[in-house]
């Protein structure tokens, strides 16, 4: 296989713990009730189109994109809207959401629910982007940036490569891995459609080398599709970070504060690609996704295909129930996921996994003085100095933190993971980013 590609600066290698890697995707029955937040994307939430008492069908538009960076939201089930109310979602914020009582399983007209592979490609780029936009697709790796916006290359820039993120560098998570194994053909067609939308003739799929079966499978499939190549990457976190993945595959570095298209790249996650396939070929909006439910105490670590809005409590039950010694529930992976207050949180478009951590692993170690070992600096994939940035944030020197490029931080957590003194570096970096972000916005207003 030769030397595996990877990014250059920093990185760590946490235990992979892919407990559910060999468990096929299982479709869970439609729940009795769903809670669908109107804001499931990065950017502005959608405007509600339904009110209490309305009957909806699965796939029906219930929230309309409200601005440029915003996404449509569709009813994931058929039934009656019980109420519109604020709900604490996995991000910890209260968001207006639709409670839908499920009745039957009726889908909106024109949606193809069959498993038949459709490889038709005669769409114009505009048609593809329009379908993606209509279907409410967002980045399903967790960032939830509206996909159609990413597909609209800004004037004066050209995309050269479509980069497909099959890295799944977060420990424990396996939903992308299973998708690549089970939906390989659909992903390939989705990639061809995205290539067409972006007018590029090269697509590079990056997969970490701890998923040899996915690498083999997609390499085999890629032979049938023009312009798609599969690349095995070294297992190193955060290989799946957009900028790190571009560096690994093309050796280009996205400049500070710029988007990937600056270096001719557009990155899409494999889950997103599948959603694009369904949106274009099946007319199916984004109302389902695959979620990994895992953790060392979980009796049946699983990959579930569920409707958006399903309570994660139901997913945990399906994986054998919540273990008694659970001390922390994380939405997402252990490096970048968010700790949840309770399990009454709905699955949203960005929910890649639910990780249950045992009591003994739930709390942080006690902080001790910085011994200036420089490990945080050595592992930072952005070439920052977390020890310095955290100290600047602590003493409120936000202008200095801005000069030291705190806004470049991708919040991967490698610094805090590696810190021998267990200093909550990323907490302070986030504080610094928030304050510097405010300062920048205030400056731009003037």
């Amino acid at each position: 296989m030769g030397i595996l590609k990877t990014f250059v600066l920093g990185g760590v290698h946490p235990s992979e713990n892919k407990l559910s890697a060999d468990v096929p995707i299982q479709e869970l029955p439609v729940p009795e009730q769903v809670i669908v937040p109107f804001g499931q994307n990065l950017g502005a939430p959608s405007n509600p189109l339904v009110k209490r008492g309305d009957k909806v069908k699965a796939g029906q538009l219930i929230g309309e994109a409200s601005s440029f960076i915003s996404s449509n939201v569709h009813a994931p089930v058929s039934g009656t809207v019980l109420k519109i109310d604020n709900v604490v979602d996995s991000s910890g914020f209260r968001r207006p959401s639709a409670y839908i009582q499920v009745e039957g399983n009726e889908w909106d007209e024109g949606i193809d629910l069959s498993d038949e592979l459709i490889t038709k490609e005669d769409y114009t780029p505009e048609e593809i982007i329009e379908k993606v936009k209509k279907a409410g697709i967002v980045g399903m790796g967790g960032a939830t940036f509206p996909t159609h916006v990413k597909l609209m290359v800004p004037p004066g820039k050209t995309a050269e490569y479509l980069i497909i993120n099959g890295v799944e560098c977060e420990p424990y998570l396996t939903s992308d891995h299973r998708m690549m194994l089970e939906k390989g053909d659909e992903i390939m067609v989705g990639i061809r459609l995205l290539m067409k939308a972006l007018k590029v003739d090269k697509a590079l799929i990056g997969i970490e080398n701890n998923k040899p079966d996915a690498i083999r499978h997609l390499t085999e499939l890629a032979k049938k599709y023009e312009g798609i190549t599969v690349h095995a990457l070294k297992v190193k976190y955060p290989q799946g970070g957009e900028k790190q993945l571009i560096k690994a595959l093309t050796n280009r570095e996205v400049p500070s504060g710029k988007l990937p298209v600056e270096v001719g790249c557009v990155v899409q996650n494999v889950g997103t690609v599948f959603a694009v396939y369904e949106a274009v070929q099946k007319n199916k909006p984004l109302v389902e996704r695959v979620v990994t439910v895992t953790g060392k105490g979980v009796s049946k670590p699983s990959n579930f295909k569920v409707r958006i809005g399903t309570s994660i409590h139901q997913l945990i039950e399906a994986a054998g129930g919540i273990p008694e010694d659970t001390g922390k529930v994380i939405g997402g992976g252990p490096m970048m996921g968010k700790a949840l207050l309770n399990t009454d949180v709905p699955v949203v478009k960005g929910s890649s996994g639910i990780l249950l951590m045992q009591n003994h692993a739930a709390s942080r170690k006690e902080e001790s003085p910085c011994i200036r070992c420089s490990k945080c600096t050595n592992v930072c994939p952005m070439g920052l100095e977390p020890y310095l940035l955290s100290r600047l944030a602590r003493v409120k020197e936000f202008d200095k933190a801005e000069k030291e490029k705190v806004m470049d931080c991708i919040e991967c957590g490698s610094c805090q993971y590696t810190c021998p003194a267990s200093i909550p570096l990323l907490d302070y970096l986030r504080l610094g980013k928030t304050k510097v972000g405010e300062n920048i916005r205030n400056r731009n207003k003037k």
């Binding site: 600066l9 252990p334 490096m335 942080r364 001790s368 070439g383």
Partner: protein, 334 residues
């Protein structure tokens, strides 16, 4: 009740304690060599130095700083062992205790304790003892198995001191060399010197362990050794009768100990690899300047302390390579 905290939710197995005990393990070969050559006296100095260092850290934490207790983190033990390594094995016990007080009290705790000190504590103590008690600090016991020629000629000084005196008295290197230990003897530790610095081999073994465990990186030791070797090679090339050869400079005195264990102290060395290279270069350069032209035969301690002082400046000047600073377009697009 669920715990809620910011990501990341997992932590690697690194800890300050693990690092400090890693350094202690790395010092075992040099401890064994000192016990072999200097016997019970070395044991006395070692135990006393460690005990006094722990005691002073404990009492200062408890009654002066009133911070959280840190004596179990291993850092005071490391300082204690390093202090013992830096003194002759026949140093009077009370001087060892004074050294520990200076190291822990003055050089470490007065700055705020672990992680806050600017200068290497053990070296501050060594230099303090050297200028306060120059006679006791330079009366070197002779390792038991020293060849008779040296035992006869130099009863006290180290090879470096012997060379310095000899050259000052107008002798040439070819006259002095027959009375010096061989390279092999220097490598194994059969020469006069502080109890932990005599065997280059034992220290290199420990250094390899530190590198393997990623407690230190190669930049500091390698840049020090390369600078010393290169600089002394130039002088030796100019006049081999007036200047000692590079191998002698590398193997004698406290250079190996300084390069692998003293200069690499995380707290008092630069944060970036570029800064570490400059730091090592500075130490190597100053060491040779002092050894060749200075008043003292040995310059490693002074060199490290002087470079410790400029570490904050180095940190300001040497930043890691930021991601995205060069766009990489030059290599792309094919």
């Amino acid at each position: 009740m669920l715990t809620v905290s910011g990501s990341p939710h997992i932590h690697g197995d690194e800890s300050t304690k693990k690092i400090m005990y890693g350094v202690v393990y790395a010092m075992i070969p040099a401890i064994l060599v000192s016990l072999y050559f200097f016997g019970l006296d070395a044991l006395r100095v070692l135990l006393l130095s460690v005990a006094a260092s722990l005691f002073f850290e404990w009492i200062i934490q408890k009654y002066l700083i009133k911070g959280s207790m840190t004596i179990t983190d291993g850092s005071a033990m490391v300082t204690g062992i390093l202090l013992a390594f830096n003194v002759p094995s026949n140093l009077p016990s009370w001087m060892v205790v004074v050294g520990a007080l200076v190291a822990i009290g003055m050089a470490k705790m007065s700055f705020g304790g672990l992680g806050k000190n600017v200068f290497n504590p053990a070296l501050v103590a060594r230099v303090f003892l050297l200028v306060s008690f120059p006679v006791q600090m330079t009366t070197w016991p002779i390792p038991k198995v020293l060849p008779s020629s040296i035992a006869d000629t130099i009863s006290g000084p180290t090879p470096l001191g012997f060379v310095k005196e000899g050259l000052r008295a107008g002798e040439t290197m070819s006259q002095l060399t027959p009375h010096l230990p061989t390279y092999m003897q220097e490598l194994l530790g059969q020469m006069g010197g502080s109890m932990g610095e005599i065997s280059a081999l034992a220290i290199i073994l420990g250094g390899i362990y530190l590198l393997w465990k990623k407690i230190i990186s190669w930049e500091i030791p390698v840049s020090i050794l390369v600078t010393v070797a290169a600089f002394s090679a130039i002088l030796w090339g100019i006049n081999p009768e007036q200047y000692a050869d590079p191998l002698f400079q590398l193997l004698s005195g406290g250079l190996m100990l300084g390069a692998f264990f003293m200069a690499t102290d995380m707290v008092t060395s630069p944060m970036t690899r570029g800064g570490q290279l400059l730091f090592g270069f500075g130490i190597g350069l100053i060491t040779i300047l002092i050894r060749v032209w200075g008043a003292y035969p040995e310059g490693v301690s002074f060199a490290i302390l002087l470079m410790n002082a400029v570490v904050p400046l180095i940190n300001r000047g040497f930043k890691p390579r930021r991601f995205g600073k060069k766009t990489g377009m030059a290599t792309a697009g094919k």
